[in-house]
């Protein structure tokens, strides 16, 4: 009986430890910030709403539900580094309560989309795209009870109001895949 209790304890400790060792995506972003090999863009939505007079109240509501957009990109230089970093990201996305919406691609090129939260009140959207010969992009949209239906409607109206949105920041990121 003693042995049984002991092994139970061991098992418990092992599970607890594995939880603690889990790095969160936020921590991963912070850790990678120091590294010059990464291209990093932090886009607080306050930047977008600067010219918000031209937006309707519904559009404002959508923008306000989004707090921050984080982009992290790595243009392939060192394959070993690429492999270890994508491995880390995959492990984080596997744990930490992310729900995978879908994935697409092969072992060479792949895109995966995750969310955190309920379907109609999403707290975080993560898009992870990798290409074994080019690098990877990790995009994260952080918000509070984001609603996809509203966002789609918002995206539909984007074309007309895009002048109000500053997208220049994204261009550096897109260069990675050129």
């Amino acid at each position: 009986m003693k042995a049984f209790k002991f092994s139970l304890m061991l098992l418990l400790i092992a599970t607890l430890m594995s939880c603690n060792n889990q790095q969160s995506l936020q921590e991963y972003y912070i850790d990678s910030k120091e590294n010059e090999d990464f291209i990093m863009v932090d886009l607080p939505t306050s930047l977008i709403s600067a010219k918000s007079e031209s937006l309707s109240p519904e559009q404002k509501k959508v923008i306000e539900s989004v707090k921050k957009i984080n982009l992290l990109a790595y243009s392939l230089k060192d394959t070993a580094f690429y492999t270890s970093e994508t491995g880390k990201v995959k492990a984080i996305l596997k744990g930490d309560n992310y729900d995978e919406l879908m994935k697409l691609g092969s072992t060479e090129q792949r895109m995966r989309i995750f969310i955190k939260g309920d379907e109609d009140a999403i707290d975080e959207v993560v898009v992870f795209a990798q290409d074994n010969s080019k690098g990877f992009v990790l995009a994260r949209v952080l918000g509070n009870d984001m609603n996809v239906a509203d966002m789609v409607r918002f995206a539909e109206t984007m074309d007309t109001s895009s002048a109000a949105l500053n997208t220049a920041q994204f261009e550096g990121i897109m260069d990675v895949f050129n």
Binding site: M1, L11, G105, T107, E119, V148
Partner: protein
């Protein structure tokens, strides 16, 4: 007593390591292109146009909401195709799938299988397998889980565009 503990722990470990579902290994297999859509995605899609009063749209939403997941694997590699065929045959036998129909279309052998659901028209699983082993075509495996209305399979094919989705449009029920 000690032996019992060890056995229990071993059983526990083996359960966690072998809990992988069928076909999952193709998601990370070399030369295999995979598309996986999970239930959360369907729930999201279903919520997107809830205000729509169009009956056609409502039908579509009902269908989307009844799906659990869609997996599509396709490959040109002979090795992967062989593995896929083997796993499909094993799955067919172990899950007691029933054949819906088999079509020979432009030299391709297309097979449709299902796992019976709550009624004749509704199935709980729908599988399509295109064997491309003997020619230059892709070997394609599609697996759809949920409460699937066989009459609506064509609609799924219309809304998603992937290798072999054309074949799905040919599914006819009575």
């Amino acid at each position: 007593m000690n032996k019992l503990v060890v056995t229990l722990m071993l059983v526990g470990f083996s359960l966690t390591t072998y809990a992988q579902k069928s076909f999952d290994r193709f998601e990370d297999m070399k030369d295999v292109t995979a598309m996986v859509i999970n239930q959360k995605m369907f729930k999201l899609l279903g919520k997107m146009d809830l205000d729509s009063k169009d009956p056609e749209m409502k039908n579509y939403i009902d269908m989307v909401n009844s799906l659990e997941d869609i997996k599509v694997f396709s490959t040109k590699s002979a090795n992967a195709a062989k593995a896929m065929k083997g796993e499909f045959s094993a799955y067919k036998a172990s899950e007691k799938l029933e054949q819906l129909m088999s079509v020979k279309d432009e030299g391709k052998n297309v097979n449709f299988y299902y796992k019976p659901g709550k009624s004749d028209d509704f199935v709980s699983e729908f599988l399509m397998f295109i064997d491309g082993e003997n020619n230059d075509d892709d070997t394609v495996l599609i697996k759809i889980t949920g409460n699937i209305d066989l009459r609506e399979i064509g609609k799924i094919a219309n809304s998603i565009n992937f290798d072999g989705s054309d074949e799905l449009k040919n599914v006819k029920v009575n």
